[in-house]
């Protein structure tokens, strides 16, 4: 696979994970399983800088390739 698609696919996966975690956060809150809520919301928060890093790395790689 060409590196040009890697960033997009990684970001799509991260966004998918964010959506799933957000959905479960709300579900677990209404199920009164509060520890899981904390873990899931923490995971969603961690996914954001990860997405940002993937984006930055992708842009840097493309600049180096002269695209």
């Amino acid at each position: 696979m060409k590196s040009s698609y890697r960033g997009v696919i990684l970001l799509a996966l991260i966004l998918f994970a964010s959506i799933v975690c957000t959905q479960y956060t709300v579900n677990m809150y209404f199920a009164q399983r509060y520890m899981e809520v904390l873990l899931l919301s923490g995971a969603t928060v961690v996914l954001f800088p990860l997405a940002w890093m993937v984006f930055r790395k992708d842009q840097r790689d493309r600049r180096e390739q002269g695209k």
Binding site: G7, V8, L11, A12, I14, L15, S18, I19, C21, T22, T25, V26, M28, Y29, F30, A31, Q32, R33, Y34, M35, V37, L38, L40, S41, G42, T44, V45, L47, F48, A51, W52, F55, D58, Q59
Partner: protein
Amino acid sequence: MENEKTRPIPLKDDNYTHNINRSNERSLDRRSFMKTMVGAAGLFAASTLPWGALAAKELMGSSSKTFPAQKIANLSDIKPGDAIEFNYPGEHDSALFVYVKEKEYKAYQNACTHLRCPVFWDRDEKELLCPCHHGKFDIATGKPLAGPPRRPLPEIVLQEKDGAVYAVGVKRYEEQL
């Protein structure tokens, strides 16, 4: 009179709606698409924070959480098969008391666990029915029997004293699952 050549924006482009001339200016390029995805991830991250804060608050205060006793009805005033709507534990938490049969009564918070529609007592079928999407709950346990809901209704702990029924607490989901 303004000269057409010295105008900062040519007259033909000086409008709000038809001034885009560059090709692909409106299409989403790769960089913008990725930025949008990062932004969406940030939005989801921010949206979970209030839930996390609420959960942390519940975790810190749950050990000391007690519910006041609240009288629902005198048993002499109601007949088997009757249902009474009341608010417990808060004044905005709707609940349903059902006098199933002699010496047997149950109470649940009556917001359907699917989309929080009010749940009614179906006297003929002996089930709790959510009319929005035909969710049904078991009166004995509060567990969902049919329809979209997947979680049981939170049960309200009842106590009989001096011929009257009192609500004294709400069971947590873990106790029911």
